[in-house]
Amino acid sequence: SSTRVYIMMHYSVSAKAYGKIIFHCAKYPHRAVNGVLIGTISKKDNSVQVQDCVPLFHAKLDLTPMLEVALTQVEIYAISKGLSIVGYYHAKPQLDDSSLTDTIKSIGSKISQNSDVSCVLMVDNRKILTSHNELAVKMFINQEQTNQWKEQRNISLMGGDPVMSLLIKAVENGIFQKLIDFDNHLDCVDADWTNPSINKFIEELKEQ
């Protein structure tokens, strides 16, 4: 087939998605954490809306059995909400390390095979809670022809700075401790990794 010109898509991240990434990092500051991004793709506008995220693990990130279980369940959940899996986020425990490992790249590639788009958001640990107008994530996109992951800056937070300040305030009030990830669910199946109460809380924040 002929080569395609690579067109940069714009990614916008909802308060719900970004907030839960930050909460996940705040809840387990000494561990690596990861999760899946779900949302919608608008080919017409050449954009991706990361509407939500599901926090997955804070332990055993490199092992696959539970990851496979989680991805299957998240996919079913996403479809039920009219969304699809559009990416993956990962925070490393080392303060200054936001580089991609082989495991991260293979998870990202796996997601991009089942979806039209996929991005990897690596958390920039130095920027969490310290920056009020910059997202504390670096976005990497898999360029299909070269199969290389390159950093792209074409990402923004829906709602902008005001949302950021509110999320920081939520962390300061300890609300991140209520976040449930897939690991918590595996320890106690009653724990709901769709986080309905946190989702509701963040939605109400935006209306203020």
């Binding site: 059995p65 939520a170 009030n173 609300i175 401790q177």
Partner: protein, 230 residues
């Protein structure tokens, strides 16, 4: 809608009275759990305002507060506690280790390493200090060096559970599943009732079996199958 404070009720540790604070810190010391925010908030009030009520326990509390305060970024309280301990126990190695923690928190890793090397020259069998070296290597992302150091520690302290746990995690991050499995076997032998070790062991075996299966399938199906990428 509810205010931040209402939603966050009970989630941010609050000091109420010195006795419940003291008891909470005792429980955490016994369990060995990592509740840094709670220890830092409660402990700070205890050492600053109720030191006289604690008796001899006051020094153990000072020691407990330091890593917790560092964990939540309260360097000021950590330094104050260290100064008090250093004043009371000037020659102590136990207190020197806390000085090392302060240096590590400031990311002055070379100074911390020099301090630890110094201690190890005088006390070559100091396990806690030897482990701090591994922690620094981990913080710097020097996984291979950390593994080498841990193996040296385990050659001497073969029953140290914490080291076997740490080594298993490091091997997994380096995709050395057979070596990780060995570590997990040691952990299972040490604590056969701990289901978490069995679980990790199973997942590591799954991953290493999967790798073998993948190789065999690639031989049989040379065009490759993208679903095998994980």
């Amino acid at each position: 809608m509810a205010s931040f404070e209402e939603v966050g009720e009970g989630l941010v540790p609050k000091f109420t009275d010195w006795m419940s604070a003291r008891d909470a810190l005792r429980d955490i010391r016994e369990e060995g759990s990592r509740e840094s925010h709670k220890v830092a908030v409660l402990g700070k009030q205890l050492v600053e305002k109720y030191a006289s009520k604690l008796g001899d326990e006051v020094w153990v509390v000072h020691e407990q507060v330091i890593p917790s305060a560092l964990d939540i970024g309260d360097h000021h309280t950590a330094e104050a506690c260290y100064k008090a301990l250093h004043h009371k126990f000037p020659g102590s190695t136990r207190v020197k280790r806390l000085e090392g923690l302060l240096l590590e928190a400031k990311e002055e890793y070379d100074d911390a390493l020099a301090l630890y090397t110094d201690i190890l020259e005088k006390e070559p069998t100091n396990l806690l200090i030897a482990k701090r070296r591994v922690t620094i290597q981990k913080a710097r992302g020097e996984t291979v060096a950390a593994i080498t150091e841990l193996i040296k520690i385990l050659e001497i302290y073969m029953t140290d559970i914490e080291s076997w746990n740490e080594l298993a995690d490091l091997y997994i991050s380096e995709h050395s599943y057979e070596k990780a499995a060995f570590c997990l076997e040691e952990l299972i032998l040490a604590n056969p009732h701990n289901y978490l070790n069995h679980q990790r062991y199973a997942e590591v075996l799954y991953k290493s079996l999967f790798a073998i299966l993948k190789e065999q399938l690639i031989v049989l199906m040379p065009q490759g199958n993208t679903s095998l990428q994980l």
